[in-house]
Amino acid sequence: MSWLKKQISKELWSPYAAGVLLGIVGILTVTLANKLLGASGGFENIAAYIGKAISPSNTYFNYIMPAGITYPVILLVGIFFGGMLGALSSGTFKFRTMDDEQWKTAYGNQKWKRWLLLFIGGIIVEFAAGIAGGCTSGLAISGGMLLAPAAFLFIAGMFASGIVTALIVYGKKY
């Protein structure tokens, strides 16, 4: 039992072990809730409150992703506490900023720069997820497990441009 406890409380698991856990969660989500895992959709349901205030007759926020405390929104709340539980289990939970050393090598030490880039990155990622019909979890994993072609197109695009972007950001240090 103490062996198991030690394994679970490790800060990093083998990606294979963590992947098996994610796989089990994916199967349980379909089996118990008849839903898919996802993250970007929840943000759209929350954004709909703002979107409808700006444009009350907007198609997307009225008919496609309406405002509400929906299943994906609750899932997001769960993901937040899941990250917290993981960090607590390894004793790494701590309110902090600028905690990534490699980030500083890539972009420098300024906090405003990190916040600006994360804000812009967030916009790009969520906007792109809207176009694609989902993100890494809702489309790549959830669509992939059901063998939807969309998932594999998305994964191919994501890796191709991700590699090129990292190449540009890192330049000689790539």
């Binding site: 990606p15 994610l22 349980l28 967030g122 019909g133 969309a150």
Partner: protein, 184 residues
């Protein structure tokens, strides 16, 4: 939604966030180093999850234990271009919506404040501009909410078998043959 559904969504979300934390995907370094090909954890994590889920849901479906939820729609240009834009943001910031939320739960203010505000802003911009370009994108090469077996008559188990072999070959090449760049 009933209370039961809320509780279930919360539990599934917690397990999902926990897995993201343990895989280390809540870190900028892990994500960007996948794109630098110096750390293959993201690929291993995703492909393992895909193999496990495929091997789970298809037999369960065949046995009549589950029905599939709505299959994510395939509209070639949107899925591909969306993926291309997504990769830019993911490599720049080192997160995607799920990993940023889980990272926020670990106490990272950088993810909680600018990250979440960015996602909300991106979602608002997408929703408000939806009418101006999405109907066009959705009209090109749209195969609907279908799976590869449904569309092209490929046997599902054959597809899963091929994908599993591909994943195992890739894992072998990474772990045993050193198919990975050295970090500088």
């Amino acid at each position: 939604m009933t209370i039961g559904t809320y509780v279930l969504a919360l539990i599934l979300g917690v397990m999902f966030g926990f897995a993201l934390n343990k895989a280390g995907l809540t870190r900028y370094t892990k994500i960007v180093n996948q794109f630098r090909l110096t750390d293959m954890a993201v690929l291993k994590f995703m492909m393992t999850a895909l193999v496990v889920t495929m091997l789970g849901v298809y037999p369960l479906h065949e046995m009549g234990i589950i029905t599939f939820p709505t299959i994510p729609a395939t509209y070639v240009v949107g899925n591909l271009v969306g993926g291309l834009i997504f990769g830019v943001g993911m490599a720049l910031a080192g997160f995607c919506p799920g990993t940023a939320v889980a990272g926020g739960g670990e106490g990272k203010w950088d993810y909680i404040v600018p990250g979440l505000l960015g996602f909300l802003t991106g979602a608002v911009i997408f929703g408000l501009s939806y009418d101006s370009f999405m109907p066009k994108i959705l009209s090109i090469a749209n195969f609907g909410n279908k799976t590869i077996p449904e569309l092209w008559g490929v046997n599902a188990y054959l597809a899963i078998f091929v994908f599993t072999l591909l994943a195992l070959a890739l894992f072998y090449a990474i772990d045993r043959l050193g198919l990975q760049r050295k970090s500088k």
